[in-house]
């Protein structure tokens, strides 16, 4: 006989990391919507933004459970994936926190140029940390087939993002499309990883590690 608490705990353990990632994005979206409609002030929004970051903890735990289940036999591979997930969760949290801090500081105060430069550099460095985490995943990966899939994904992402940036840049120069801030090309690169995963699935029958 399983009591309600145990059942609830077991049910929680079965939740996928995507559930927590979705919850985090939904919470951030709700806060952004509240701030955009002036329902809450920017200070309150910045403070509230910290709350969804706590969802990174169950998300990492759920992802680790999944990595353990998939790679139960291949301990080193499971460990590599666990480290990757931890690093990505860390840099994602840092990105959200530093972005909120930079936005809050520039809206509420008029920080001097040096401080503004420092605060504006932090979110970009957090994204650079995500690239580093993917690089370490490739270096530390012990399964050569999975490593090849990850490299293929990264190459597809790079080709996709640089091609999109090149085409958009010339269209922008010709005043055909609107200006896009450069950090969006990193977002396109991460989307390109998804494109690479689909191509891996078609050619090799499996999505890859990222």
């Amino acid at each position: 006989m399983i009591d309600a608490t145990t059942e609830s705990r077991l049910s929680g353990q079965r939740r996928s990391p995507f559930f927590y990632a979705g919850m985090m994005l939904a919470a951030i979206g709700a806060i952004v919507a509240l701030a955009a409609t002036n329902a809450i002030g920017s200070t309150a929004a910045t403070i509230l933004m910290i709350a969804p970051l706590w969802l990174a903890i169950p998300m990492v735990k759920a992802a680790n459970r999944r990595a353990d289940a998939v790679n139960a036999a291949c301990a080193s591979k499971g460990e590599v994936n666990r480290r990757y997930i931890k690093r990505i969760a860390l840099f994602t949290s840092l990105y959200l926190a530093t972005l909120a801090l930079a936005t809050f500081a520039s809206r509420e105060y008029s920080p001097p140029l040096e401080l503004r430069t420092f605060l504006s550099t932090l979110p970009g460095l957090a994204i650079a940390g995500m690239f580093w985490a993917i690089g370490r995943l490739i270096v530390e990966q012990t399964d050569e087939f999975i490593r090849m899939l990850t490299i293929r994904q990264s190459l597809w992402a790079t080709g996709f993002a640089l091609s999109a940036a090149s085409v958009w840049g010339f269209l922008e120069q010709a005043d055909i499309v609107i200006h896009v801030d450069a950090y969006w090309w990193a977002v396109v690169w991460f989307f390109g990883l998804g494109v690479g995963a689909v191509i891996n699935r078609i050619q090799y029958g499996t999505w890859g590690a990222i």
Binding site: N71, C74, K77, D143, E144, F145, I146, Y204, G205, T206
Partner: protein
Amino acid sequence: MKNRLKVLRAEHDWSQQDLADRLGVSRQSVNAIETGRYDPSLPLAFRIAELFELAIEDIFQLESAP
């Protein structure tokens, strides 16, 4: 490249996961090698040959080989 991995695995009554465990790779790797989608590196090919106590050429052959 073609290979006899699936036959050898069946002879030992191993699942893909069993073989992956013994080789220290993922099940996806075993599946990709068996289906000819991926050719293993020389070190992994040696590990496979060692596991089945065969020579590499008894497991892996070029497509054009008789």
